[in-house]
């Protein structure tokens, strides 16, 4: 006779009180595959932990976003935000779908060029553009979004040297009702600095001001803020037209669309509160068509959406290292992926799933990463099934900012794989090893 399936013994105290308004927790269903590829097989071949990116999800998400805007507004252009995820394979998928590149450093600019993006389809944002970066951007006809007066003066100087006409926009910050107000990027609207910058550019006569750019914040769940921004940018465009007879070609609304990851402390899950692309598109395009742009010429609408386009496509699969009890008896689980790979775990309550059904019982659990650091917490408190050492887990929606903000701290960064549309798995970034670091380090002779 075969033996019965073993399940770890559990003892739970029945706590009286007001029931949670959301009712009891639904059992956490395991996730065994991503795009029909077994997670176990990926871990077996590429090690643990491993980032897994779904090409299918990237393309579907992009198409949904583009459709939402392009069916409501005639001139829409997305520019892929490199800082959100600048793995070449990821960037190239977005470029294939039609996205331009949006970069914020010389490094990202070089990456965009290497990805065969024509200079005039690269938007150069950010407060840090070196002289060399600007020379390169001007020569390539890239769209330079000026962040501060020192940058503007540098460009004015370069115009004389290079004898070329830079294509620029100014970055504008303003009060859109978002708290905290992001005022570190660009020139302020309310205090007249933005208008002052436009005057300096157009009085120079050798620089083409072709756009206005704004970056109102990140994880914006109040889409109306974009409408406020559009009203103010339209006023600026109108003022520019009447003063200089200069038409603004495009309005760039930056990024900031929220993904469906829930922020820590949020009352409701983000899946219930995050606006859809259609919600954002409705608010933004309604504002674009209802405000008065000079001569009734509709400027192009550029969007630098990053997080909302890639978060859903990224997964992190790994292995349970240990289970233990904390001083107060709470359960703790140690996994092999920590805040070194998931910097974003500091503000998100990530959804974590077992890869296989191991137990019908769950218990309030703190999930720690593998680092020898007290702050290495992936989930502070989650009702989680009782996985054993060696069991696999998978974390959902980790496509944004993880693979760019990750740290080489204590341990190496892992492999990143891409599942293509046919279900084939490709290694797109190799895991690090000691040689990677040895190559970068130099030891003075006397210490050898």
């Amino acid at each position: 006779m075969s033996k019965k399936i073993y399940e770890r013994p559990v003892l739970r105290k029945v706590v009286e009180g007001i029931p949670n308004k959301f009712g009891s927790l639904k059992r956490l269903r395991p996730i065994e595959t991503i795009d029909n590829v077994a997670i176990d097989a990926i871990i077996e071949k590429y090690g643990s932990p491993v980032f897994i990116i779904s090409e299918k999800t990237i393309r579907e998400t992009y198409k949904t976003a583009y459709r939402a805007f392009s069916t409501r507004y005639p001139k829409v252009q997305f520019a892929w935000s490199y800082k959100t995820n600048y793995l070449d394979a990821v960037c190239r998928i977005f470029h294939q779908e039609g996205a331009w590149a949006e970069v914020v450093s010389g490094f990202e600019y070089e990456k965009a060029l290497d990805n065969n993006i024509p200079g005039n389809k690269i938007i150069f944002n950010g407060p840090d553009k070196s002289r060399e970066d600007l020379v390169s951007a001007i020569s390539n006809n890239s769209l330079i979004h000026i962040d501060h007066f020192d940058e503007l003066y540098m460009i004015i100087k370069l115009v004389e040297e290079l004898k070329e006409r830079p294509q620029v926009a100014i970055r504008v910050n303003m009060d859109t009702g978002i708290i905290p107000q992001w005022d570190r990027f660009g020139f302020n609207y309310e205090n007249g600095e933005a208008w002052n910058a436009i005057n300096r550019i157009l009085s120079n006569g050798k620089i083409d001001l072709i756009g206005l750019h704004i970056h109102i914040g990140t994880y914006i769940i109040m889409s109306k803020a974009y409408a406020t921004a559009i009203e103010k940018l339209a006023a600026l465009a109108t003022k520019t037209f009447y003063r200089f007879q200069k038409t603004i070609n495009y309005i760039d609304l930056g990024g900031g669309f929220a993904s469906q990851n829930t922020l820590q402390g949020a009352y409701m899950p983000a899946t219930d509160t995050t606006p859809s692309f259609d919600d954002y598109a409705h608010t933004i395009t309604t504002a674009m068509t209802s405000v008065n742009f000079p001569n009734n010429e509709m400027p192009a609408l550029i969007l630098e959406t990053g997080r909302a386009l890639i978060d859903e496509a990224g997964w992190l699969a790994g292995t349970v290292l240990a289970n233990k009890r904390l001083a107060d008896g709470r359960r703790a689980m140690v996994i092999d992926a920590g805040v070194n790979l998931m910097f974003t775990a500091f503000w998100y309550d990530y959804e974590i799933f077992p890869v296989h059904e191991t137990s019908f019982q769950s218990e309030p659990t703190t999930i720690y990463g593998p680092l020898c650091m007290n702050i290495d917490v992936i989930r502070k408190n989650i009702d989680f099934p009782m996985l054993n050492k060696g069991d696999h887990f998978v974390i959902k929606r980790v496509g944004a900012y993880t693979m760019t903000q990750w740290m080489q701290f204590i341990t190496y960064r892992p492999n990143v794989v891409l599942i293509d549309l046919k279900g084939e798995v490709h290694l797109i970034r190799k895991q690090e090893d000691k040689e990677v670091f040895r190559r970068q380090e130099l030891t003075p002779k006397y210490l050898l």
């Binding site: 075969s2 033996k3 019965k4 399936i5 073993y6 399940e7 770890r8 013994p9 559990v10 003892l11 739970r12 105290k13 029945v14 009890r325 008896g329 019982q361 054993n388």
Partner: protein
């Protein structure tokens, strides 16, 4: 009467502790262990019994048993 014998335990795993009025739930494996504890079986005997009836190795059964015994002690349900 031992602390364990003073508990009211249902077949479905509901446990009532009359001395404090507290209630607990446990699973099939927990009931199995409590039953053997009531029969004054030792740790080793319980592990062997678990391995006989369930698909589990010695180390896992031992680890989980001693953790469970800690729970019972912490809740003052056994000496």
């Amino acid at each position: 009467m031992s602390k364990l014998n003073s508990l009211a335990i249902s077949d479905s795993g509901f446990i009532f502790k009359p001395s404090t009025g507290e209630s607990f739930t446990t699973n099939e494996m927990g009931l199995f262990i409590i039953q053997l504890l009531k029969e004054n079986k030792s740790g080793e005997e319980i592990i062997n019994a678990i391995m006989e009836d369930f698909e589990v190795d010695n180390v896992t059964a031992g680890r989980d048993l001693y953790e469970y015994l800690d729970f019972l002690k912490r809740e003052q349900m056994m000496d």
